[in-house]
């Protein structure tokens, strides 16, 4: 892989990059599936409602 530090990489650096790739692969493997603690649609709706309600409130109060 052509990384930023691919030239002059030490064995230690290579080991680190391998571990990083493993972590990245594990993240990629979970894509598309529900993950623990992922925000739900209800929570996104709550955020949207809070934003809109607060904005409308500022217009009403002024």
């Amino acid at each position: 892989m052509n990384t930023a530090s691919s030239h002059n990489v030490t064995a230690e650096e290579l080991e680190f990059q391998t571990e990083r790739n493993t972590v990245c692969d594990s993240f990629a493997g979970q894509e598309g599936h529900y993950q623990p603690g992922q925000l739900t649609r209800v929570e996104y709706l709550a955020v949207g409602f809070l934003l809109v309600a607060t904005y409308i409130f500022t217009l009403v109060v002024q």
Partner: protein, 485 residues
């Protein structure tokens, strides 16, 4: 080479198993960062625009809007992938684009705040001495510059020692600041009822229209909320998941910052001076004022250490190839030379800090709008992590010579929309400002422009890896349909 240390330096994602903070730990960490002396400054500035009642409403609404939007733009992806916003931004602006953004979003902001808080340190010390010596404070004296330089030097010393020394300061200063604010509220209520305090008029009103003045106050608070953009990503990535990364922002940052601003607003109006280092000389008795001012002075150093540390860590992440030959200590010292010089180049930064704050909002509002569209609309919350750490053409996020032209153009146009709508220098504004604010409009315009530019320019050229995610989501969707059949 320790993976966790390298991940903390931004060279790798932090997997959930190695993250420290649950919901309440992150809430406290947020509150400890937000309960800072700049809250007094922002509150004091509001006193020049609105009365206490409208100021408190503006503080609450502005912070909710700013903090929620920044949380959407930065915290959710950081909580999911364990990467802070500067690394994550490579998927939006390209590797070189994110370096450019880092320079403007982080360096200028940090330098500005270091100068402002350093001068606040100087003025607090001067006011504390004036209380005991029974003389008038000299907020513009030459000695303020000298004391400010001392504050920057102390900050550099603490940060050069590393994060442990900063944590020690945070552990002491954050709870103590809560106590100081509680003490201030007690002093406010000692000789006035709540209704009397709420009825206090503004120290000044820049425009005849009440609606415009109120919206300027809301704008200032949205700007304050947006000003967390450079910092919360680094914290959110240490949380265990998206939910923990997002909601505590509202409780920790939103409430704690609002408390500091409310105290700053009421104190300024009650004692007739927008500068907290001046009104605090009258807030308590002789020794109480002296102790509080001394404490506020050193609390500034803690805030300065927090932002300097974050900035230098980011600097090393962004420009690793150039800066890796310098030691941490020399990087800190080198960085601190910039605010030390800026202090003399822009001596009016403290008194005009509101202008500085609003300028930063022009940048952060556009950045926020663009990042929300990229992550939620264009990428459907899927980013190829490996490519965030890969430089050059082999990365999906190479775009055009390391720059995503669509996001860069939307960013510039968003900033222009902001300054046309509301001039940070003069506060002159358009007729629609009172309905849109400048921050929300700039965020919305840059978001829409970025979406259009991406559809017209980036996606047809198959840059940015967007088509991969279309295929991925299509693949999952068809798989789900088949399994349902």
């Amino acid at each position: 080479m320790d993976y966790t240390i390298e991940a903390e330096r931004g060279r790798a994602p932090l997997p959930p198993s190695k993250r420290l903070w649950g919901f309440w730990e992150y809430t406290w960490a947020n509150a400890a960062l937000a309960i800072a002396t700049w809250g007094f400054l922002i509150g004091g500035s509001l006193s020049l625009v609105v009365d206490v009642k409208n100021g408190l409403l503006a503080i609450i609404t502005g912070n909710i809007l700013g903090v929620l939007l920044v949380g959407l733009a930065v915290s959710i992806s950081a909580g999911k992938y364990g990467t802070e916003q500067y690394t994550f931004m490579r998927s939006v602006f390209g590797h070189n684009g994110s370096r450019l953004i880092y320079f403007f979003a982080m360096i200028l902001l940090t330098v500005g705040w270091l100068v402002v808080l350093g001068i606040m340190f100087g003025r607090s010390i001067d006011s504390a001495i004036s209380v005991v010596a029974e003389r008038d404070p000299q907020p513009s004296g030459w000695h303020i510059y000298l004391i400010t330089l001392v504050a920057i030097a102390i900050t550099a010393f603490i940060v050069a020692k590393g994060p442990t020394s900063i944590k020690v300061f945070n552990t002491i200063v954050a709870p103590a600041l809560f106590l100081v604010m509680g003490l201030m509220i007690y002093i406010f209520l000692k000789d006035s009822s709540v209704s009397e305090i709420l009825a206090l008029p503004a120290l000044g009103q820049p425009f005849d229209s009440h609606a415009v003045n109120f919206m300027i106050a809301v704008e200032i608070n949205i700007a304050a909320g947006f000003s967390w953009w450079p910092y919360i990503g680094n914290l959110s990535r240490i949380t265990k998941n998206e939910r923990v990364a997002f909601w505590p922002n509202l409780i920790g940052i939103g409430l704690a910052a609002s408390l500091g601003e409310a105290v700053g607003l009421i104190g300024a109006i009650k004692f007739g001076n927008a500068d907290p280092t001046q009104w605090m000389t009258e807030a308590g008795g002789l020794w109480l004022s002296f102790v509080v001012l001394l404490f506020v002075a050193f609390a500034n150093v803690t805030s300065m250490a927090n932002i300097l540390y974050t900035a230098v860590v980011g600097l090393r992440q962004m420009f690793d190839a150039i800066l890796k030959k310098f030691s941490w200590e020399w990087l800190v010292v080198g960085f601190c030379l910039v605010p030390a010089i800026t202090l003399f180049v822009l001596p009016g930064l403290y008194d005009g800090f509101l202008t500085f704050l609003v300028w930063t909002a022009a940048l952060y509002s556009a950045l926020t709008g663009i990042m929300i569209v990229d992550y939620f609309v264009l990428r459907r919350q899927h980013v190829e992590l490996k490519d965030l750490f890969v430089e050059g053409k082999s990365s999906r996020y190479y775009f055009t010579a390391g720059f995503n032209l669509a996001s860069m153009a939307a960013l510039v146009l968003g900033c222009i929309v902001f300054t046309v709508t509301f001039n940070p220098l003069t506060f002159e504004h358009t007729s629609y400002f009172r309905f849109t604010t400048a921050s929300l409009l700039a965020a919305a315009v840059s978001a829409v422009l970025y979406w259009i530019f991406s559809l017209v320019f980036t996606l047809p050229r198959k840059q940015g890896g967007y088509s991969d995610f279309e295929q991925l989501t299509h693949h999952h969707f068809t798989k789900e349909l088949k399994s349902n059949d």
